[in-house]
Symmetry: C2
Subunit: 202 residues, 2 copies
């Protein structure tokens, strides 16, 4: 069991839903869960570390990665490009490490199309008003950007049907517990474990 392939967990949800916090809490508990670092053309926000939070790349470099088929998915979001480098994800899964991708819906659907075994989790705040409140409390963005994000969020909601699991982030610890549970439960699925069983009995 210990040597089975890692799980790929795709987490999406409206901006401000608390994805980073929840994923961070899961990784605190599980050494076998790693976060996939996305490449992006957007500017670093204060406190973000290059190579840890994002791989910050120039537009030209990003285009080159697309052309060389080095991205598992990519998308434009609020005027910037975001993408997931394929090689580190596949290498980690092969080693038995579980990989969490924090990507928006458009990219998530690309991942699912390429890797149908991906586990799709949609993370949402308890209600839309709380989302708006969080975006404003974050106080990092202009009113125009906030409205843009809210409109994007509305579109994301309607796409939740593509996701297997929905985690409601009313309390980040409970949400982390749920996300963690999804990873554990998925690794208990019969298809993954039956071969060990058969070996024992036949």
């Amino acid at each position: 069991m210990q040597n089975s392939r890692g799980k790929l967990i795709v987490v999406s949800g409206p901006s401000g839903a608390g994805k980073s916090t929840v994923i961070g809490k899961v990784m605190e508990r599980r050494s076998d869960v790693r976060f996939s670092v996305s490449a992006t053309t957007r500017q670093p926000r204060s406190g973000e570390a290059a190579g840890k939070d994002y791989l910050f790349v120039e537009q030209g470099e990003f285009i080159r990665m697309i052309e060389n088929d080095e991205l598992l998915e990519y998308a434009e979001y609020v005027g910037s490009l975001y993408g997931t480098p394929t090689a580190p994800v596949k290498a980690a899964l092969d080693e038995g490490v579980n990989i969490i991708l924090d990507i928006e819906v458009q990219g998530a659907l690309q991942v699912k199309a390429h890797m149908p075994e991906a586990i799709m989790v949609f993370l949402i705040p308890p209600n839309f008003f709380q989302l708006e409140e969080r975006l404003r409390c974050r106080n990092k963005d202009s009113e125009e950007k906030i409205l843009g994000r809210l409109e994007t969020a509305r579109r994301e909601y309607s796409k939740a049907a593509a996701y297997e699991y929905i985690v409601v982030n009313g309390d980040a610890d409970i949400a982390a517990d749920e996300l963690y549970s999804i990873i554990v439960a998925e690794s208990c699925r019969r298809e993954d474990r039956l071969k060990h069983l058969i070996t024992d009995t036949e």
Copy 2:
């Protein structure tokens, strides 16, 4: 979410796999998980409490329950009848309580046929030799009964394919964590949660 219907979790596995211990640990952690008390015609073992561990009934009473369609499933096992009274299970699920059934494979398949939403979990020891060791260490049964149980266990193994999840009980705390995670993850499934989402957005 709090008012959603409870989950029915069916746990099977070879005798001596540690089902009672693992289920007990889950219930220590979760107040919203209840154990379904089976009816049986077998004699109480020392330490077993009537109405708590089992509902001990006479053969005639058991037959009456079958005839009155009061059992969700029933089966003969090592010479005794075991069954699950339907009414308390359905009442608990309606209240949003998760119900765990600890039943052997034959009965479990009856439950799945009647209630396809049942979550099927197969609990096994890490290998067959450990199962044999545990049965002997328990030291409660004759050699003949042990051999009978081992033969039944071999048949149960081959039926694992009917189960959605397999939990390997090498360590009871890890196994309880896995069983608990399966319950949590299943309550995060989109089908259960999407209606709340739609209400928020449309």
